[in-house]
């Protein structure tokens, strides 16, 4: 079997397992999995930029929030039908990424991190400033009546799980394909040695701008889906914390792997979930585990797998 067909099989296999899990897991855990899948979409979007291209943004929450608010506000205040509002949210995130990329990609390294951080901070303040509509920190709830597509009730555990799975599955397969294309391989080249890439005749700046927009689009999809499935839109999702989360997930799971983001979100989610059941100092537990992982699996869990057993892991 070629590496390529192994990889295809792995991706399909993951989706089959996720499908089956719904029927195996108790309701509570199935609910958690819905959330994990949506956040994994966010992590996968971030991973395209960080893991594959080597660009560390510290402001990705603004794209997640753009999707979330773009969707939430238009459906709540504008009364737009769900699919249209969803599309609008995603486009908001893409346009924001284009603007941010246009300016921030003039910088590299630490400066890029700071500039993205500042843009995200501005976005957060904008959400607060328009508190009349966004209701600031408190946020707003999306009415149950608006949370259905084609008659499927997205507030039911089943509707929610399979919508999350559908959207995760589409994004997962799209990204798996994307990173195998010449474009995707050039991103890795930029990560490895940007000057060399340029001196092979690739327009590295254009590649970076493109992938930032794509990354923003996926983050926007995640934000809009989150609002749609869990019915809540709030400024917390635009805070620095939500820019740091995807970094931690991706580092944990394995940067620059297609499966890493899902593993990272899953691991982190249950790490917090379980340790907070034991102790109030659960963030300490999380911190210690993170330090241990960085020491013993610097390329994340998927990176460890790739090194030890599954050398073909994409």
């Amino acid at each position: 079997m070629t590496d390529n067909s192994k990889s295809n099989l792995m991706h399909i296999g993951v989706l089959v397992v996720l499908f089956a899990l719904f029927f195996i897991l108790p309701v509570y855990h199935a609910g958690n999995m819905s959330r994990i899948m949506v956040l994994a979409v966010y992590a996968m979007g971030f991973n395209l930029l960080f893991g594959y291209t080597g660009l560390l943004s510290l402001g990705h929450a603004m794209f997640f929030a753009a999707g979330m608010y773009g969707f939430g506000l238009t459906t709540n205040l504008g009364g737009l039908p769900v699919p249209l509002a969803f599309g609008f949210g995603v486009i908001c995130a893409g346009v924001l990424a284009l603007v941010v990329g246009f300016l921030a990609l003039r910088t590299i390294g630490v400066a890029f991190m700071i500039v993205t951080l500042m843009f995200a901070q501005t976005a957060y303040l904008v959400v607060l400033y328009f508190g009349t509509y966004t209701r600031g920190d408190e946020g707003f709830v999306i009415q149950q009546a608006q949370r259905s597509i084609a008659g499927i009730d997205l507030t039911s555990e089943t509707g929610r799980y399979f919508t999350a799975l559908l959207i995760f599955g589409i994004c997962f397969l799209l990204i798996a394909r994307l990173v195998q294309t010449p474009f995707g391989k050039t991103l890795v080249a930029i990560r490895e040695n940007e000057e060399r890439t340029r001196m092979l005749g690739y327009d590295s700046h254009r590649h970076k701008l493109k992938i930032l927009v794509i990354s923003g689009l996926f983050s926007g999809v995640a934000g809009a889906t989150y609002a749609l499935l869990f019915g809540y839109v709030g400024a917390t999702f635009a805070t620095v914390q939500y820019s740091i989360f995807p970094l931690v997930w991706v580092l944990l799971g394995g940067a620059g792997t297609t499966i890493g983001p899902l593993i990272g979100v899953f691991f982190m989610f249950y790490l917090i979930n379980i340790s907070s059941g034991f102790t109030d100092a659960y963030m300490l537990v999380v911190g210690v585990v993170l330090v241990l992982l960085t020491l013993f699996a610097p390329h994340g869990l998927a990176g460890l797998l790739r090194k030890k057993v599954l050398t073909w892991l994409p």
Binding site: N193, T197, D203
Partner: protein, 243 residues
């Protein structure tokens, strides 16, 4: 009807602060020939080819490729026109496999043709003798093999002009022989601009020699002209033939 010179520079100059690395360099590169660019350390050779390829921004002057002024094109556009550049300080994708390094070089031209790409990569690796190391991680190669990989990445682009900045530096004697054979085989297929300290390589491969000294073009001509040139002997040949 193609012009004799594929590339020309006019008044090309570069200052780094107070250092005049290149001063008004007028140069002509003959199509289909191997031209060696020689000169003592610090003469400005790397700076010169850096400005030609667009990697280094010129302070002043023009670069003409096939008669067109490319002075204001960014590096990647110049490479797209058919210039390939190998670095003096090895610059490969150390974390990727040898074959992926070569594939990246070739893929820009063969993006939509996976079969042609595989063929090109295979043949380039065979040509430079790296076939049995195709799946190795490039960073694990020996220094000499990394230099050869760098050359392979240039070849894979099938360039119109192939700029090599001290390709044989750090190669074993037998690898230098292979390199000479390779350059001779390429002569006629493409135009080569070769920066080289090893005089044996220069004398065995070059059709034309250009001598740069302290940022100025000291002499240009056939190997015989250059050998006979008193200025050159004073500045360079007399002191470094054994280098």
């Amino acid at each position: 009807m193609a012009a004799v010179n594929i590339l020309e520079t006019r008044g090309l100059s570069k200052s780094f602060g107070g250092v005049h690395a290149n001063s008004d360099v007028d140069f002509e590169l003959a199509r289909g020939k191997v031209t060696a660019l020689i000169g003592p350390n610090g003469a400005g050779k790397s700076t010169f080819v850096g400005m030609v390829s667009g990697r280094i921004e010129a302070t002043r002057g023009q670069v003409l490729f096939e008669g067109a002024d490319i002075s204001h094109l960014p590096a990647h556009k110049r490479i797209q026109l058919g210039l390939a550049y190998t670095f003096q300080i090895t610059s490969i994708f150390a974390g990727l496999s040898v074959e992926e390094n070569v594939a990246l070089a070739a893929r820009r031209l063969l993006a939509g043709q996976p079969e042609a790409l595989v063929k090109r990569v295979t043949s380039v690796l065979a040509r430079v003798g790296l076939s049995d190391r195709a799946v190795q991680i490039a960073g694990d190669l020996s220094y000499g093999h990394q230099r050869i990989l760098e050359i392979a990445m240039g070849l894979a682009q099938e360039p119109k002009i192939f700029i090599l900045d001290e390709p044989t530096q750090g190669l074993a004697e037998s690898e230098v022989d292979d390199f000479i054979t390779l350059v001779r085989a390429l002569a006629g297929e493409t135009t080569i601009l070769l920066i080289e300290h090893n005089m044996r390589v220069v004398m065995e491969t070059a059709d034309m020699i250009a001598v740069l000294d302290q940022g100025r073009m000291l002499a240009e001509g056939t190997p015989d002209d250059i050998r006979a040139n008193a200025d050159v002997q004073a500045a360079y040949l007399g002191t470094s033939t054994d280098a």
